[in-house]
Symmetry: C2
Subunit: 252 residues, 2 copies
């Protein structure tokens, strides 16, 4: 990025820049302790308040995190690489594997806080699914926990009339999950649209995802369409941004 | 999202929830003034500090913003919809149009702070572009300003040996831009990979993008490949998250 400030920037900013550069270059790796206030006071000849401000810049940016009584550490960042296109390939769930198994390699995944309910559709969802008036949706909520860290909240909406009586209305949707069941109903999802936004989490989201301060969420809203262009599922996902890299491959 | 707290949540949280629901339902639209501290004290029978905390929850989430002396307002949000796949279609830049023209409809776009330089490649970029030792890159930096609001910082890296002597090394790359020039060199970009992350902005990024507090940036790193799989450009983009929805369409 262009440095617009040069040497006229406040001292704590320049110290923060030096530390950030040290993190970028690998001098301080993930999980390493950064120099403390006392170190910075000596190295840069500044007051404690300036040293403290420098460290808080990096905390506010989500680059570093404070651990009580131990100091300030470089954020451990071993993100999941979520390959948007490949993970939804039909050969994946068509063979009874979960979509998730494409992402997680050999890491341990648990899905918890699963709830399934028949509910009135939120306005936006009703519009996307082209529901008739009063038509309800099957709402599947769950949380994904990777290596003990919650990384994703997901809420899927499917037309209740379509999925009634199938395993989609059960906690365990069976081999290949919801998409394999939709295929059995003659509604195989073959086209997808993902919309991506980012914002700061609500208190509730931050707590459910055990997020550290200064970290945004990524919102992914996926709509799944059949061959005839019928929308059969809307899945609203909330991702801890520190846990993810999203990747999309496509041709011109 | 699942409400895990119910009525045991602190009062200011419950007031914030009510206001947030009002924003979601459209009762308070973009740019509308939210009830002030005095209003909230009366409506909810709480102390000023509680009312203030409730409003600050929404500010911290980036849902609302304070305007000095005027109150707290719902964030104006008229995001750009960036269609990841369609905007890079060859017919777009092949016909002399900029990639951007697919995004902006009839809004006014200016590109400023353009710099072009021959530089040593950052390690990550050198690896992706498979550069030889000491091979330099042509670095194009610029900022995109939409309707007077800066929304995107972009830095493109291209192998200097490839683009030497072409308009890619000039501020104005000519009709169809960098991709049309690459095509003339026999290096037409036909395959793309976009990696997406999100984090809080640095002070410098927040200032260059005129961002309000509580708003993250979305980082998009695009690599463009030729038909033979040769990587010819890495473009690191920093987007104001409040200004964008990214959309990707693809088939299973």
């Amino acid at each position: 990025m262009v440095n617009t400030g040069g040497d006229r920037r406040p001292k704590y900013q320049r110290i923060a820049d030096t530390l950030r550069e040290g993190i970028r270059s690998g001098e301080y790796g993930p999980g390493d302790r950064l120099p403390g206030e006392n170190d910075l006071m000596v190295t840069h000849g500044v007051a404690r308040m300036t040293a403290r401000q420098a460290l808080s810049v990096l905390r506010d940016e989500g680059v570093a995190e404070a651990r009580k009584g131990a100091g300030v550490f470089v954020r451990e960042f071993r993100p999941l690489r979520r390959r948007g296109v490949q993970r939804l390939a039909q050969r994946q769930w068509g063979n009874g594997r979960s979509i998730w198994s494409a992402d997680i390699e050999n890491r341990s995944l648990e899905v918890d806080r699963i709830t399934v309910a028949d509910e009135a559709a939120p306005d936006g969802v009703a519009a996307v699914l082209s529901l008739a008036d009063e038509e309800t949706v099957c709402v599947r909520r769950r949380r994904f926990v990777l290596d003990g860290k919650p990384v994703l909240l997901a809420t899927s909406y499917l037309p209740a009339s379509l999925v009634a009586g199938t395993a989609i209305t059960q906690e365990d949707t069976g081999k290949g999950g919801t998409y394999a069941r939709l295929a059995e109903l003659g509604c195989e999802p073959v086209h997808f649209r993902e919309e991506i936004r980012s914002r700061m989490p609500s208190k509730d989201e931050a707590s459910q995802l055990s997020m550290s301060a200064g970290t945004p969420v990524i919102l992914v809203c996926r709509t799944a369409f059949t061959d005839e262009g019928r929308p059969v599922e809307v899945n609203e996902m909330t991702l801890d941004a520190a846990s993810y890299i999203l990747e999309y491959d496509f041709d011109a």
